[in-house]
Subunit: 306 residues, 2 copies
């Protein structure tokens, strides 16, 4: 039995080494090398071409190399009964938390305003009104972000499909909870998974319900955001700006208006990334659970899409 | 008996109200109003002119409006047997932590580099090497900063005069501990009190012992830093930059080279400030302790200077 790593870019050596350290008996190939296809029981994949995964007849599970799994679920040729397992990686979570906490602090403590003042040699203390952080998506990463924002003294609310409670956080659930959640989010942080339901969820309809002067942090996916709606709401003065890490097309084309829109910070999809040395543990533990007939962590609910 | 608030600027109404809510029986005056001077038992002061405090014959304690007390101790006319009490304010601590955490994240996650790239429309992922945070000064605020840096995944070391242990932090103490501490600080955060021993402590001698490419965050006092030494070490490429909140002269004069030095961020002394609504509790509790013959929190060790 073997595992095949499928990724478009970046060398796989570090993954091979990390897996070998934790599971020396596991045979690992890197696509397009596969060894005998009928011996392949696991793939560890990011954005495999449609049909590639279906080419392994004896697969036991599909691992995503990232927290998102839409790249697997959007491949109609993937057998529907195969477990799809999202990445759970403490390093990925930690980095996402760093990104989100930085974005919140940067907005709250008016860092861009102070930098602009410095460029003019201007000693001027901005006001720092309290702000309320709203986190959309309360999975592994959203919960960790909420916790750190609380620890830094922010009032935090959260929104998720099911609205499951979270200590210290005012949680709103489902469509009926969305207006109240939005009305209390001075900084809106999107960490949603990419599903049919969440595509385009950051639109004029929703962003328009944020308090005047609110700020958007999109560390989810580019497809969550209706780009023109955000640009219009900033131009109208309803929103003060945004920090965006994910875009519909990456690299962001050089003529995209986000590059120069006032108050918009573009970061090149660096909020979080999976670290093989820590993430390999999740993969090896999940394989062990599957072999023992147990439910591994991170199995995706296929109908829900995450 | 009464309390007199002495401050150079900013209205005192919010303090009067905060104290009235917690201690309605306390008579509060605002300098230069004092009522009968022999009835004044407490002053709550920031940078009173020398001799002003000594003008109250029946003082029981001197409260500083901020965490620093050098402005009291430097007034030779203040009776040496009077308790001097530093401010302990959860809001002040929280804001200082926000400032420091932002500075660390901004440096680690290469925010200035990404902003410069954005200005050129350049989609380029920086490297984000791990970094070690070194915190000088492990009082109320330094300890809180250390804790949050740990929670965000950083390796943290600390330095203090006595080197008292702190969970999760590699603590170095005294002069003999300084070289080891400095050699492990990729980001050096200064939160020291202003004393005779700490004046000029951030000099070529100490900053030169930081690892190449290190970054300085000075949220202490301007007097801690030998300005020209920092500028020279940046020009020589030994340090990558600094985020500075406190200066020898404030407002920072418009011809000061910090405004335009590469890699230097100037913030207008906004890292932390005392919030009367929360800080009044400390003052009222300390007065109650003094009256009960107990030791209040925050009493300064006069010889040590903090």
């Amino acid at each position: 039995m073997s595992l095949v790593i499928i990724r478009k870019s970046a060398p796989a050596e570090i993954w091979i080494q990390a897996l070998a350290e934790r599971a020396p008996e596991l045979i690992v190939h890197v696509w397009p090398e596969t060894g005998p296809v009928d011996e392949v029981e696991y793939v560890l994949s990011w954005a495999a071409d449609p049909g590639v995964i279906a080419g392994f007849p004896n697969l036991k599970a599909i691992f995503s190399l990232g927290a998102g799994v839409d790249h697997v679920l959007s491949d109609a040729t993937v057998p529907s009964d195969l477990p799809v397992i999202r990445m759970i990686d403490e390093s990925l979570t930690r980095r996402m938390v760093q990104y989100v906490v930085h974005a919140v602090l940067s907005r709250h403590r008016r860092v861009e305003e102070m930098r602009a003042n410095q460029a003019q040699g201007l000693w001027k203390r901005p006001a720092f009104p309290d702000l309320r952080v709203g986190i959309m998506g309360l999975g592994e990463i959203g919960r960790a972000c909420a916790q750190q924002c609380l620890a830094l003294g922010y009032q935090v609310s959260g929104w998720s499909r099911r609205g499951e409670p979270l200590a210290g956080v005012e949680v709103h659930g489902g469509e009926q909870g969305l207006p109240m959640f939005l009305s209390r989010s001075d900084v809106l942080v999107c960490l949603l998974p990419q599903t049919r339901e969440t595509a385009g969820i950051l639109s004029r309809d929703t962003l328009g319900q944020l308090p005047k002067g609110a700020y958007l942090v999109n560390a989810g996916r580019g497809e969550h955001l209706v780009d023109d709606d955000l640009l219009a709401l900033i131009a109208e003065g309803h929103l003060s700006g945004a920090m965006l890490d994910a875009f519909r097309k990456e690299p962001l084309p050089s003529d995209n208006p986000f590059w120069t829109a006032p108050g918009v910070t573009v970061t090149p999809h660096i909020a979080g990334w999976t670290e093989p040395s820590t993430a390999a543990r999740h993969v090896v533990e999940a394989i062990a659970a599957l072999r023992a007939g147990q439910q591994p962590r991170g199995v995706v609910h296929r109908a829900r899409g995450y």
